[in-house]
Amino acid sequence: MGLSSVSTTGEGLLLCVFDLQRGQQEGQELDKILFFYPADLPFSTQLSVIGLSEGLITFTRIFSPEAACEVIEAERHSHVFYEAEPDIWMVMVVEKNKEAEAIWRIDALKELLKEVHSLFMLFHGSVRGILEKEPSGGLTRSHLYPFIMDYLRDFFIGKKLQLPSFRDCLKERRTVQMLTVGREAAIEVQTLVRILESCAGNAHCSSLILFQDLLVSTTLSPEDTINLFTYAVLRLTPHALSSGVSSWSYLRKGYSSSQVAAGSTPAPPGSVLERFYGSSDTSPSGDDRYQVIRPLQHGRWSKGKDGFLITEIWGPDVGSLDLVTPTISLKQTEERMYLCVYQYKSLTVILLIPVSSILNGEQGVSVVKQQILENASLKILKVEEKLSKGWGGENAYHVSGYRYLLVDDSRDISRASPPGKVTTLTKESLLALNKLREEVDLEKNQAKWDYTVHDKDMEMCIRAKNNAWVIARITRGKELYMVLEKANETLLYASDAVEKFSNRYCNGAFSSD
């Protein structure tokens, strides 16, 4: 099919965003391209990648109008398709390379596309929206380019882009990790939430509270919670602020400050490309034509004297010395919100105030901030203290003997063995689990189109080559993946182990009734 002709350059990745509604006339094909990585690839190559993808989409739509193709597996490449918005497609082409451990789980890659798009929506609104605002596409490109590049930069290890591979199969992107808290602490947290809400007067505020890199409380819809949680862990939590410190969250795997310099590598140097994308990566706030904010830029958040986090990303407030308070838009309500972040030790409190409810802009926001300092800071102190006391450290959720991933699909929550413990697993175990998860993904995706009323229950137990047990169990929307190395050889043992785990840590959710 000519797929092999697509070169993925040295990094083994092509990533493009294009609009099927654009460039339908001969000679205007370039209009389709909204984003392409690597940007320095000749337009002809870019167009051939996009043309191929477009062809596949059009073709598969004949059979499945509602869900066109999701993935194409070629001999040396995997093409991952994601329709982010109607007719706005994101396609990722990754090279398969066993030696370089380039073994992916397609759904994990798709989650990555979803994530970058959701984050983009969080700050800039929909791609279609920007396109409608400025049909030439320049504005969209100048937004997409720095945003996705900033996002991808987190995946660079050295000069090499490292996408989530089989080694990350005990992690689940697009879920939230929660802190387990006792009743007393939970009540304190919830009272804090109410106090925060009352700080903005009659405005209907939302809040998100994180302890370390774990979610403690949210008043947002699940989707918005995931987006904001992701952003917080990427850029706002104490760990993220002191970037360079190694993190145990999957979201910030390899990033360290040394990559800031390397970050400029993918920038298209001058010439046609720069004009095309309307952005040179080096200028801090986009280029002269468009004022583009770059919320994912590294090292741009810092803690202010009053405990609120400040950033220059949104630029200085016109006519005052203050910085502009960031705004985001929520997916559920499509409401524009001010983003206020207060941090005390390990506790990060995110308050979202509807822009429409604050009449005098920055001044109004600082009034709310003042209210928070006056009314809530004591409570914040108390909550932080309580949570710190109950916090078991980054290995708090380690269960000895088990390497597990627990996903609650209905609540978009996951919990997993700490990464440090997962690394002790052998490659064979991880590969086996990766394979198992792919099987489960397949089943799940099929079930999704079956329109069955209830979630599918399944149970798989595999004895891997290295004699490890690799187990997947799905019950009513909850998923449990598990690797048991150095375990007894009987299946009974394995199922007992699951039973025990389920009873102790999952309220018996996975126990075979």
């Binding site: 009743r183 919830q190 809400e197 209907h204 699940p222 919670t225 209830h454």
Partner: protein, 740 residues
């Protein structure tokens, strides 16, 4: 409840403009006797005594009733300096001169005398006591004589003598505390407590006296000294006329500690205690200032205001006519009332809460107007604290607390403040649970009546102070709360005053074990008796006078605060959720169990505003503790939100409510899982037809066969039921079609 305030206001004779925190209520107890020569109050027996030359009239003041009829005893003629009934009211002691006391046995009329031995000493006074050492104490200028009464020989025996110089003395039966003044300025004091545990001698101490000039030394007089019992603690209040201060001393077993001073604004001051609230009457200024000496604060709880006379008929012509023969009488007496001068010169303040108008021969009981007091402060948490400490009108205090709490929530006052209010309510409830007083009111009838101290022959009809005396007290000292159940049993039927007695009968505490929190609620059973029944709004109160404490249980919080507020409240329910959270926080701290209905309400509120994310957190973190009610509400609220419904299902499984869980699983189509669950947990009482129906509708013969097989194994004799036959046929038909 909230309307009460207006009712009671309108019932005052002075119109609604009159403002007061303290009132006396018409009609008073009228104690005018033709030929009366003296009016006495015996605080040991709580009798008001009026004497003629040959008769002693005595009125019970407890329970206070304006209609109380006097009891008459005849005595021989002679001067009367003082009259006191023995605590069992079998003897009357009359001080005839400063050297002689005469005794009458009331049953037989027999009499005997007790005289001072020496000419140099004179009797200052005497009182009956219930301390084990003796029955009567005679205070003389030369010291104390302790006598015991021997009923057989009908005479007194001198038990002990204490040699002391005494200028004057102060004693209240309530505190059992005797203070003997001596010295030039009469400011050096010897103290004794004649408690049930024996006679405790207090360390000698001096009162503070400011000097007006270098050389003048003011002399302390007995009318400047008040012994006050509040919250079971004993204080002494001393008027310092020069400094215009009321010094406050607290008595401990081993020490007397000065605890601040209160300012006074009148050269004449009087003290009353109503329901543990200290009333400092500034007689010249004709106002009263209220203090609640519970915490360290010595700030008054309200502004100085006059005492109000309430319940006076509005016009003489309309009311008195119907009284028939007495009309004339009441005309005149009504005129008297109109002339009743609040803080007149003839007012005598009696311990602890009575006022005697000596000129008009009227006895008034002082009441607190809890409504007015609570309305006078906007500091809601402290108002609630104050109300929660009230025992006398527990029901009214409780209703006020509920009304106040409802109001602050409806007014959407700051969450912090309402949170503190919740703390007050929950803490008070928790305390009442610990001391057992919360259950007293409600369980009164069920208590056995054979408690040792209820051994009075008159127990059925009459209550006298002696009931609380004697043996009962020593028991009480050991276990306050348990014993109190007996006390309340009685006091709920009778009166408030002996409860005050019990409070004071507790021996003095030492400094070390002084924990104010543990004392008050258990020691002070309430109540109001039939005093109030003249004003109709009090009828309701009277029915519920069994309440021992205004403490509010979580269940009542739901019924009388959260549920009504939820109905009345408009707009976003998140504020109410915030308040409920504050309540839960308090309850959690105090380890008070919360009724599931509050949880159910919280779920409804969150679901109503579609805050499912938070609802999930509330459930997962067990802020709303799992229960059947909660589970069902989750299922109900989960109709719009599958995640919430799932939480409900999980809760049913974990709780465990097998039958409900199984039923819901079948409803959701998980009938095979339900069967597995049935087998594992041996759930009985499931209806096979439900499962068979579900399996049949799935159109899968394998499933149907499995279900049939399961029940054949699980329920003995299932094969003979109609269900089996019917579905067996269905199954064979299905198989037939498949095969074909």
């Amino acid at each position: 409840m909230s309307g009460k305030a207006s009712i009671s206001q309108s019932s005052t004779g002075f119109g609604s403009g009159a403002l007061s925190h303290v009132y006396i209520k018409h009609p008073p107890l009228r104690c005018s006797i033709p030929g009366s020569m003296g009016l006495f109050y015996d605080d040991g027996t709580k009798l008001l005594i009026s004497t003629t030359s040959t008769q002693v009239f005595s009125w019970k003041t407890v329970p206070f009733s304006p209609l109380a009829a006097p009891t008459t005893d005849s005595i021989s003629e002679g001067p009367i300096l003082a009259v006191r009934f023995s605590l069992d009211e079998k003897l009357i002691a009359v001080q005839r001169s400063n050297s002689e006391i005469q005794f009458w046995l009331r049953e037989t009329g027999e009499t005997f005398c007790q005289k001072c031995k020496s000419e140099s000493e004179s009797i200052l006074g005497f009182f009956w006591t219930d301390c084990p050492l003796c029955d009567i104490v005679v205070v003389k200028t030369s010291g104390l004589d302790f006598y015991s009464y021997d009923p057989a020989s009908k005479s007194l025996t001198l038990v002990e003598t204490r040699k002391l110089n005494v200028s004057w003395y102060v004693y209240t039966h309530e505190s059992r505390l005797l203070l003997l003044a001596s010295g030039m300025q009469c400011k050096t004091f010897n103290g004794f407590q004649l408690s049930s545990g024996g006679v405790i001698r207090l360390p000698k101490f001096e009162m503070l006296m400011a000097k007006s000039e270098a050389n003048s030394k003011p002399v302390l007089a007995d009318e400047d000294l008040y012994i006050v019992t509040v919250y079971g603690r004993i204080y002494c209040l001393q008027v310092d006329r020069v400094a215009m201060l009321l010094h406050c001393y607290r008595f401990y077993r081993d020490a007397v500690v000065q605890q601040g001073s209160l300012p006074i604004y009148s050269s004449k001051v009087a003290i009353s205690v109503v329901d543990n609230v200290l009333l400092v009457h500034q007689v010249d200024a004709k106002v009263v200032i209220l203090y609640d000496i519970f915490a360290d604060s010595r700030a008054p709880i309200s502004a100085p205001l006059p005492v109000l006379l309430r319940g006076l008929p509005r016009s003489n012509s309309s009311t008195s006519r119907s009284n028939g023969r007495e009309s004339e009488n009441s005309e005149t007496s009504n005129a008297n009332y109109h002339e009743t001068i609040i803080y007149g010169d003839d007012w005598n303040f009696l311990v602890p809460d009575l006022v005697c108008d000596v000129a008009n021969k009227l006895l008034w009981k002082i009441h607190l107007d809890l409504e007015a007091i609570s309305a006078s402060s906007s500091e809601v948490p402290s108002v609630l604290e104050f109300l929660q400490r009230r025992k006398l009108e527990a029901n009214k205090a409780k209703q006020l607390c509920l009304a106040i709490t409802r109001t602050v929530i409806l007014e959407r006052r700051p969450v912090n403040m309402v949170g503190r209010a919740m703390d007050v309510i929950v803490t008070s409830y928790s305390l009442s649970i610990k001391t057992g007083s919360y259950f007293k009111g409600t369980k009164a009838e069920r208590r056995p009546t054979g408690v040792p101290n209820v051994n009075n022959p008159e127990a059925g009809t009459d209550v006298s102070v002696s009931q609380t005396d004697g043996r009962g007290k020593s028991i009480k000292f050991e276990s306050n709360s348990r014993h109190n159940s007996g006390l309340i049993n009685r006091s709920s039927t009778y009166s408030a005053s002996d409860s005050e007695d019990t409070g004071s009968s507790e021996p003095l505490k030492t400094n070390l074990d002084d924990t104010p929190e543990t004392q008050p609620s258990s020691l002070q059973p309430q109540t109001l008796g039939p005093v109030n029944n003249l004003v109709n709004h009090d009828v309701l109160e009277q029915q519920e006078t069994q309440l021992a404490t205004p403490a509010i249980s979580p269940d009542e919080m739901y019924k009388f605060v959260f549920a009504p507020v939820d109905e009345e409240m408009v707009g976003e329910p998140s504020y109410l959720v915030a308040i409920i959270l504050e309540f839960l926080r308090s309850a959690n701290v105090e380890k008070v169990k919360v009724h599931p209905n509050i949880y159910v309400l919280t779920i409804q509120l969150l679901a109503r505003s579609e805050r499912y994310a938070e609802l999930g957190l509330f459930i997962i973190n067990k802020i709303l503790e799992p229960s059947k009610e909660v589970a069902f509400q989750l299922l109900e609220s989960g109709r719009q939100n599958p995640q919430t419904r799932k939480l409900g299902l999980d809760m049913l499984r974990q709780h465990p409510l097998h039958n409900d869980y199984v039923l819901l699983l079948v409803q959701d189509g998980y009938y095979l899982e339900a069967l597995r669950y049935v087998r594992k947990h041996k759930v009985t009482g499931v209806r096979p037809s439900l499962f068979l129906e579900a399996a049949f509708s799935s159109n899968d013969p394998q499933h149907l066969a499995a279900v049939l097989r399961f029940f054949s194994d699980f329920i003995p004799g299932f094969r003979n039921t109609t269900d089996f036959c019917a579905y067996y046929r269905v199954l064979s038909e299905m198989n037939g079609t498949v095969n074909a």
